[in-house]
Assembly symmetry: C2
DNA sequence: GTGAAACATGAACCACTATTCAACTAGGGT
DNA sequence: ACCCTAGTTGAATAGTGGTTCATGTTTCAC
């Protein structure tokens, strides 16, 4: 189901990022069209398998079955089980942000942006539960990838908070702490109202959360 | 290091709880003093091992080495690796709440309570990083235990929010969503400023977070 | 003191699966 | 057409580590 990992050559948005999560080591780039198809198939199969079974219960054998390739082919493209997992995390981290960002940017003001962002995130999570699980589990399988994911988001978020402060939209305060706090809110709301239980609409949840971020719990 | 799991017979606070996390199945109760010592040793060793290596990398063999007992003895007390893990999660969940609760109750008002709770939580996390990791990883190893942990906290929290609303201390709104949002804040702040980086004081972090909860980001 | 139940021991078992490899096939450049 | 490289195959390997079990020792109620 996932679209990406940029197997082919679409121009990819430049990420300043940390040390380098890129195509460094782990996955070998295919040189023919056939190779690209196979890599794509393995990647998609891996996402399904990891999402359904979790990292440790997942099997290379089963990934290859899902992908319709022989076990050995896996190692043409990845040097280990962990390598494919890392590749998925980096890829999904990007997808998630690319999905949510435009919703926030399109909003007229800060509070509307928060609301739109949370709603978009919860909506996204509902359609990509496997992805949610994979990123979460990376905390235990590839901690550096997990950290990179959240640190990047937090930095971007803290930066935009600082700008909002400059524009007089929000009060002063430690923006990094706030960024992590709000990120935590999002993640937990995504888990509770996106993955575990879909009975509430993303918008309803986002409304409550955005008001909390905007004005806190204080009575008027 | 962990104190508990109530191996001996201290009267344990009655938890209405969910289905029944208790001494149901998994761990067999020792009938002699020697047995209780051994169980205690295995439990403590397991906490260390799981905390250091994570569930899957952890080994029964290594747990038993740490505990100073033979491998076979493990199965006198637990029917599987997963069983001991579950026992630890339930135990630590209790410990964590028991540590934080009094700090909140001792506070003069709602906002001070939030601040004290967050500070206590971050402080606690710093001294019990293994515990933090174990509870987190339970999401993938024993999802029901993980859910129980957070559902119980959220319910208690939502309840106290409802009371605060009754007392005119906070505004109206969906208390369950708010509870999950604030819980997520806490967890992420605990991870970032408790586990990953201790350069900020728990009080400083709590101050920022409590203000966020109290009055949001809105400029005055 | 005695005996039965509780507990301890650790080598052996066994199932499982990530990874390797040597033989084979397809593809595209010339 | 041809050849060389990229890619494919799946059975064999190899290491791991949770679990069992038959045997021995300790505890404690009576």
């Amino acid at each position: 189901m996932p679209k990406s990992l940029n197997v082919a050559g679409k121009p990819q948005p430049p990420y300043p990022a940390l040390p380098a999560a890129g195509a460094s080591s782990g996955s070998k780039v295919p040189r023919t069209a056939r190779g690209q198809r196979t890599l794509r198939a393995i990647l998609d199969a891996a996402a399904e398998e990891f999402g359904a079974a979790g990292y440790y219960e997942a099997g290379i054998t089963r990934i290859c079955q899902r992908a319709g390739v022989a076990t050995g082919s896996f190692y043409t493209y990845f040097e280990s089980k962990e390598a494919v997992f890392r590749a998925l995390v980096a890829d999904m981290s990007r997808q998630m942000r690319e999905h949510v960002a435009p919703h926030i940017l399109a909003a007229p003001d800060r509070l509307a942006g928060e609301r739109a962002g949370i709603a978009a995130f919860i909506g996204f999570v509902r359609h990509h539960k496997a992805m949610y699980r994979i990123i979460d589990e990376s905390a235990f399988v590839a901690e550096d990838a997990y950290r990179r994911h959240y640190v990047e988001i937090a930095e971007g978020y803290a930066h935009s908070l600082t700008q909002a402060f400059g524009g007089g939209e929000i009060s002063d305060g430690d923006m990094m702490v706030r960024a992590w706090a709000i990120m935590g809110m999002n993640v937990f709301l995504g888990l509770r109202f996106g993955v575990w239980d879909e009975s509430m609409s993303p918008d309803a949840v986002a409304e409550v959360a955005a008001r909390l971020i905007g004005e806190g719990l204080r009575p008027r």
